[in-house]
């Protein structure tokens, strides 16, 4: 028993974080699933929905057994700044708060370790949904050509070897990037850059799909429904990351909505300027790019910063997918790299520019008189980029040399729905 008073749980905070967890769940399934599903050819739509749905199931189990401990549990020794130990295996001691478990070191008290007014288990399930959506985002890069069995192994390995350490480095108390002072409010580095660069690695490793390197958009209304659900769920993602229901959550909610709206407008404007007409898929892509970019900044910037972040992210992402990708010729099927990495990178760097102390005393950026923050952000981005890119390639190599990563040419031609799942999404006849 310690001498400091036990923390007070706050019902309002707990309610908001639990509700946010459910909102973030809806981002993966059905949000992301429909957003991606609409963008593939219809012979592959089930494979996307299945992967997103099973990602939710697989990661949910992995997370309570070992993932949360690796990502957020206390680390040991030198390795502790990169990955957590197994102290919280099977959520050991990650309990609902009970006063008799209170110890004097609130930082590592297993009952209330993150967020002083919610139980650790509440934070755990909120973070579970982040761990779910990150490998699901990667699906966009290798869509339409990976065996389901290979995808299962990829997701398991990638979660444990890439996601957990990256989350630990940025967010845990003893993480190395956390000590550097890298600001990442809701996962611009951990979730979006991480998934985007992993996507690029898989796309490069696998090569192009047979006979096409263009999206085979089969259901644009799905894309719009998916993007709207992402926008909806993202309020949990960003405003929930305040781990409280106060002013900070409100501010994060407002800047999230603002940046997203600005990005939808500017993507549509880019299309209007470069190709003559704005498209629905373009507006949706812009909104998602805006959501990605505001994610790391959402707890640190004011409305002015969020408008800059939103309006500019679509310009960068549009240039990436419309001009740069065709030049290099890699087949990032649904632009997980082009939107999530580039958007996440801009958001992470922009956090270093636009963060203001008025919003959150924890961070200030270049325009708030803290010139060093930009380089700190850049350093954090570099670590995630290099680590994830290399390790993802290694995972691809291991899976490819053992069970094979890519579907056979015949299976790919027939479509992954029939070849991997014996189930098609649509019929032509009854």
């Amino acid at each position: 028993m310690g001498t400091t008073p036990a923390p007070q749980l706050n019902d309002g905070d707990i309610s908001w974080v639990l509700a946010s967890s459910a909102l973030v769940l809806a981002m993966t399934a059905p949000g992301l699933a429909l957003f991606y599903g609409g963008m593939v050819r219809r012979k592959n739509v089930n494979s996307i929905l299945m992967q997103c749905f099973m990602c939710l199931a697989i990661v949910s189990v992995l997370w309570v057994v070992i993932g949360y401990s690796l990502a957020f549990g206390p680390g040991h020794g030198w390795l502790g700044q990169f990955v957590g130990g197994l102290d919280w295996f099977m959520l050991h001691n990650v309990s609902m708060y009970t006063p008799e478990h209170w110890t004097s070191d609130p930082k590592w008290d297993p009952t209330t370790s993150y967020g002083s007014t919610v139980p650790n288990q509440c934070y755990m399930i909120f973070q579970c949904m982040f761990a779910v959506i990150t490998p699901a985002l990667v699906i966009g890069s290798f869509a339409e050509r990976v065996k389901f069995s290979a995808w299962v192994w990829f997701t398991v390995l990638w979660l444990l070897v890439v996601y957990c350490p990256v989350a630990h480095m940025v967010w845990s108390h003893d993480g190395i990037e956390n000590h550097w002072g890298v600001l990442d409010f809701a996962g611009g580095t951990v979730v979006h850059m991480n998934a985007g660069i992993a996507g690029l690695a898989t796309a490069l490793y696998l090569g192009k799909r047979l006979g096409t390197d263009k999206p085979g958009m089969h259901n644009v209304p799905f894309v719009m429904i998916g993007a709207s659900l992402l926008w909806f769920g993202w309020f949990g993602f960003n405003a929930g990351s305040a781990i409280s229901a106060g002013a900070l959550a409100t501010s994060a909610f407002v800047v999230t909505n603002t940046a997203t709206a600005a990005a939808a407008i500017s993507w549509a404007a880019c299309e209007w300027i470069f190709t003559g007409k704005p498209t629905l898929v373009g507006a949706c892509s812009g909104a998602v790019a805006g959501l990605v970019a505001i994610t790391p900044a959402s707890g640190f910037v004011d409305v002015g910063g969020s408008l800059w972040i939103g309006f500019l992210v679509s310009v960068f992402c549009y240039c990436m997918v419309a001009f740069v990708k065709p030049k290099f010729g890699y087949d990032d099927t649904l632009d997980a790299f082009g939107v999530h990495y580039i958007g996440g990178l801009w958001g992470a760097l922009a956090t270093g520019l636009f963060a203001v102390k008025v919003v959150n005393s924890a961070g200030s950026g270049v325009f708030d008189g803290n010139a060093g923050q930009f380089m700190t952000q850049a350093k954090g981005c570099a670590v995630t980029t290099i680590y994830t890119f290399i390790v993802t390639l290694i995972i691809c190599f291991i899976i490819d040399k053992t069970i094979g990563m890519r579907a056979s040419a015949e299976d790919e031609v027939i479509g992954l729905d029939l070849s991997q799942h014996h189930e098609r999404a649509y019929t032509i006849l009854d």
């Binding site: 031609v413 014996h422 098609r424 032509i428």
Partner: protein, 113 residues
């Protein structure tokens, strides 16, 4: 005049179109069809119950041509659609007794091109 009907793999449609354009055959009608020949369909499952004999998606191309163009059209389709594997499809050539252009009322060879 002949009517050339080809049933090909959906993903080979673009290749076939390119070959047809190269052979100066520019007028085609394309529809989506279901079927299978020797390449039997893939079984589907519904909650553990097998449903056999399902049909595969194919693309049907219809081209009406004058006699001079019959062979070039067939060659172009084969060149575009052949992979050498079961499921590449078939080409049927039928006699075409009449052809009328709706806009002008022209008949026969003139109306085809």
């Amino acid at each position: 005049m002949k009517l050339v009907i080809a049933i090909v793999q959906p993903y080979k449609l673009d290749d076939v179109k390119q070959e047809l354009y190269a052979a100066n055959v520019n007028l085609i009608t394309v529809s989506e069809v279901l079927g299978h020949g020797r390449q039997v369909g893939v079984d589907e499952y519904y909650r553990g119950v097998k449903e056999t004999g399902n049909l595969l998606r194919k693309v049907q191309i219809e081209i009406a041509v004058n006699e001079d163009f019959v062979e070039p059209t067939i060659k172009a389709i084969i060149k575009g659609a052949r992979t050498g594997k079961i499921g590449d499809g078939k080409i049927f050539v039928l006699d075409l007794p009449r052809c009328i252009r709706i806009r002008t009322g022209e008949e026969g060879s003139k109306a085809i091109g």
